[in-house]
Subunit: 299 residues, 2 copies
Amino acid sequence: MFYVIGLGLCDEKDITVRGLEAVKGSSRVYLEAYTSILMVQKEKLEEFYGRPVILADRDMVEQDSDSILKDADKEDVSFLVVGDPFGATTHSDLLLRARNLSIPTRVIHNASILNAIGTCGLQLYNFGQTVSLVFFTDTWKPDSFYDRIQENAHLGMHTLVLLDIKVKEQTIENLIKGRKIYEPPRYMSIPTAVSQLIEVEETRGGGILSPSTTLAIAVSRVGSQIDGGDGNGGEQRIVCGTLEELASQNSEVFGEPLHSLVIVGKRMHHLESEYAEVFAVDKENWRRVAREVYGVSFD
Amino acid sequence: MFYVIGLGLCDEKDITVRGLEAVKGSSRVYLEAYTSILMVQKEKLEEFYGRPVILADRDMVEQDSDSILKDADKEDVSFLVVGDPFGATTHSDLLLRARNLSIPTRVIHNASILNAIGTCGLQLYNFGQTVSLVFFTDTWKPDSFYDRIQENAHLGMHTLVLLDIKVKEQTIENLIKGRKIYEPPRYMSIPTAVSQLIEVEETRGGGILSPSTTLAIAVSRVGSQIDGGDGNGGEQRIVCGTLEELASQNSEVFGEPLHSLVIVGKRMHHLESEYAEVFAVDKENWRRVAREVYGVSFD
C-alpha cells in the first residue's frame, strides 16, 4: 500500500492516530520537504515514529518517483506531506503514477491552511479562490494572482494569500553551472507580501487594494501549540489591520514563519469583524474601517 | 483550558495525537452532534478515549453554553467537532463566549470536507464559495445558494455543495405542542440534490446548470478507510458524470451517507479531468463533455 499522509500544520503530534499507525507499519517513510515545512526537525519525527525518515526534495518527487513507489505493491510505503495531501498538485501526480502502476493507494487527510485559516474568525464559506504570492525579483514580477483577488473582491469574498517559501533554491549561476549548492531557506514576511500587493495594485490600477482602507489578517504558524519559551514564541499568532498598518509592523510582531495573509472581502459579517477585532493592531481603526468602508453594521 | 478539537472525517482514529492527549486529560468531553456526523457511534469513541462522552445537541450548545464552559478556567474541558472546528459558525460563537468569560481556549485542527474534497482530483485553488443545500419542502425552497453557484460559474470555478442532514428534527406538530419527539435522521442523497439543483435552475433560468452538459462529482464518506465488508462498504467513494447521469444512478452506487457534490467549473484543467475520469459513470461521455463543453484540451 502506498500511503500519502497529511501531517497537519505544526509538529509531530499533529499526525492522526490512523496516520501514525500507517507510518509505524511502513518499510520506508518519505517526507516531502519543499512545498511547505513543519515546525520541527526531521530527527524529532524519526524519534516519534521510531522510523528513519527520507527527505524527498523536488528532484526526487518529480524525477525519481519510481524509487519512492518501489515495492509499494508488496509492502507499505508512507509519503508524508505537511498539511493535507491535496494541498499541492505534486501529490496528485504521485497518486496518479501509483495508480498507473496498479499500486494500491490510500490518502490520510489532515488539517491544512485552507481550512485552518478559519481560526482568524472569517467564515470559510465566504472565501473565494486561494492565491499564491511569489518573491518578486527585479526582472520577474508575476501578477496573475491579482486577477483572482479582483474576481473575489468583486463578489465581496475573502482571499487567502499563501506566501512564498524558497527551500533548496539555487542561484542562477549555480543552476547554470550545474552546482548543487543551495541558498538558505527564505520565507516571505507579511510586510514584504503587503508591499508586493501594493506594487501590483499601482501597476494594474484595479482599485481593489488600498493601503488605508483594505482590511487584512496576518496569521503566523496556524495550529501551532508550541510555546517557544524564548520570548519570541512558536505559538500561532493573528494580527489584523489595514494593509498599511500591517506593513508598518516590526517583523517580530508576526514572529517566526510560516505566515499567510487574508484580504478581507466586502461581504464581511459583523460577527466576523468582532471575532477578528481582538487581534487588531488598532481596534478602533479596524472597527471604523469595517463600518465606514465595508458597511458592516454593528447594531 | 477549553479545547475545541476537530475529529476529522470518519472514525475514532482520525483524531490527531495532540487531540487525543487533550481528550484523555479532560474532566469533561462533549461531542457536537448536529452539524455533522462521524461514521462511528459514541460508545466506540468512549472506549477509545477511556472517557465518557456527552452528546451536545443544538439546544445545549446554543442555549446552555455555560454548562459546557463551566470550570474550564480551572480544569480541561474538550468539545469535539466532526471535521475541523471552524466548519460551522456555532463553534466560533462558543469560542467567543469562552473568551468573554476569560477562559483560555485552544483549537486543535483537523481535516474537513472543505480541504479533503481535493481527493476528487480537482485542485483546491480552483474552488469558489462553498454552498449548502437544504431539503426542500412543498412550501420552503430556499435558493440563495444558486446565486453563489452562478458567481462561481461565471469565474469558471468549482463549487462544493454540502448536502443537508437532519438530525434530531421535530415535526411542526411536535414543535408546536412542545413535544420533544424527534424524527429519524435524514441525509440528502445525490439524486435528491441534483433534482433540487435542476428545479432551481428551471425557476431561476440562469443557464448555469444543464442536466446533460454540466459535470459534477459525487463524493461519499470522504476520508473513510473502513471496509464495510458487506458489499456496500464504508469506504470513500467517488462517482462522477453529468448531472443527469448522477441523478439516474441507483442510490447504492453512492452507498451510505455522508455525501457531497462538486459542480465542476469551466476552468477545469486537463489533469483535473484525467484524475477524475477513472471515477466516471461513463468515461467516454465524461471526456467528450470535458472537451466539447468545457474546452479541456487533452493534447
